[in-house]
């Protein structure tokens, strides 16, 4: 009897381990990772995170899935961990929709949305890693970026 219980327990161990790993991994994904830092702010600029609107300050950490908004006199500049540099002019709405970067081999992918306003970009390691790795999306078009400096303007609803 006792030996059967022990055998059952032993059989359950892999399942239990898998469940623990899954729980740990899920917890890891729940918190979005740091992908960059706010380096310049003028006027009104906010980070929208999980529905909360946080006034942006120089030195603030930026996370994957954050949205960035600027007011009528606002601008903001952000540097990402792959050395991509982005800055937005007034009345802009951006979303850092997807980002992953491996700093040991400099590979990664990123997708940034610009819903309206102006955006200036100096691309970093991700855009160098492969031709389709860096994408910027406007409400109707999609940009594929290969190692360059560029600007995007989106005219929002008026």
């Amino acid at each position: 009897m006792r030996s059967i219980a022990r055998a059952e327990l032993r059989a359950a161990i892999p399942g239990l381990a898998a469940a623990l790993i899954l729980a740990w991994a899920t917890a890891g994904f729940a918190a979005n990772s740091k992908i960059g830092m706010v380096k310049t702010v003028a006027g009104q600029a906010v980070i929208v995170r999980d529905g909360a609107r946080l006034p942006a300050k120089v030195g603030d950490v930026v996370l994957e899935k954050d949205a960035i908004e600027t007011g009528p006199d606002g601008t903001i500049g952000i540097t990402l961990t792959d050395n991509t540099v982005m800055s937005a002019g007034p009345q802009s709405v951006l979303a850092l929709t997807q980002y992953n970067f491996d700093s040991s081999n400099f590979n990664g992918t990123m997708l940034t949305d610009i819903r309206k306003g102006t955006l200036a970009v100096v691309s970093g390691d991700i855009a160098r890693s492969s031709p389709n790795a860096m994408k910027v999306r406007t409400p109707t078009a999609i940009l594929g970026v290969r190692g360059t400096r560029f600007t995007v303007q989106v005219n929002g609803e008026r």
């Binding site: 310049t40 802009s92 200036a120 190692g147």
Partner: protein, 196 residues
Amino acid sequence: MRRIVLLSLVLAALTACTEPRQALVVVLPNPDGGSGAVTVTEGDKSVLLDQPYAATEVRGGAVAAVKLPSEQVQQIFGQALAARPILPSQFMLYFISDSDQLTPESQRQYRAVFEDIKRRPAYEVEVVGHTDTLGDRTYNQQLSLQRARAIRDQLVRDGLEARAISTAGRGALDLAVQTGDQVSEPRNRRVVITVR
């Protein structure tokens, strides 16, 4: 019949012109005067921008190349461009064999690294240490990390914030100059410092 076709073509062209511009994309020159490339795709149509100041606009769901004078680029994007952070920079400092002491030349270069970090309002610094292939793997891993930490400690002594500086050691895994095993190579005994 032909007249009607022509008329509708003209009308379509006119509508496209009067539709508001939905998006504008401009490729800017790199510091060397050249540029990389941006592909703008709308539906099944793509435009490749691979020259400095090449521009395209999306209007009425159609993507088309446009000419944009540089003063107009400045007018539309001036504020976004002015908000651009100081661009990241990268430095290499070199070490005396089997030590975490900088070579005399790198000691002088260190000052430039420090000044570059200090001018940034919110800095992040990554220091990654490396060794040449002389010595065994475990020892080199340790030595490379020790080199990175020596630089961090110096930056902190000079007044920078420790929590803004990360360190890592790569041993002889990422050689700057490829050599065989057990080769003394000054250019591989280094730290790579990325400043953002």
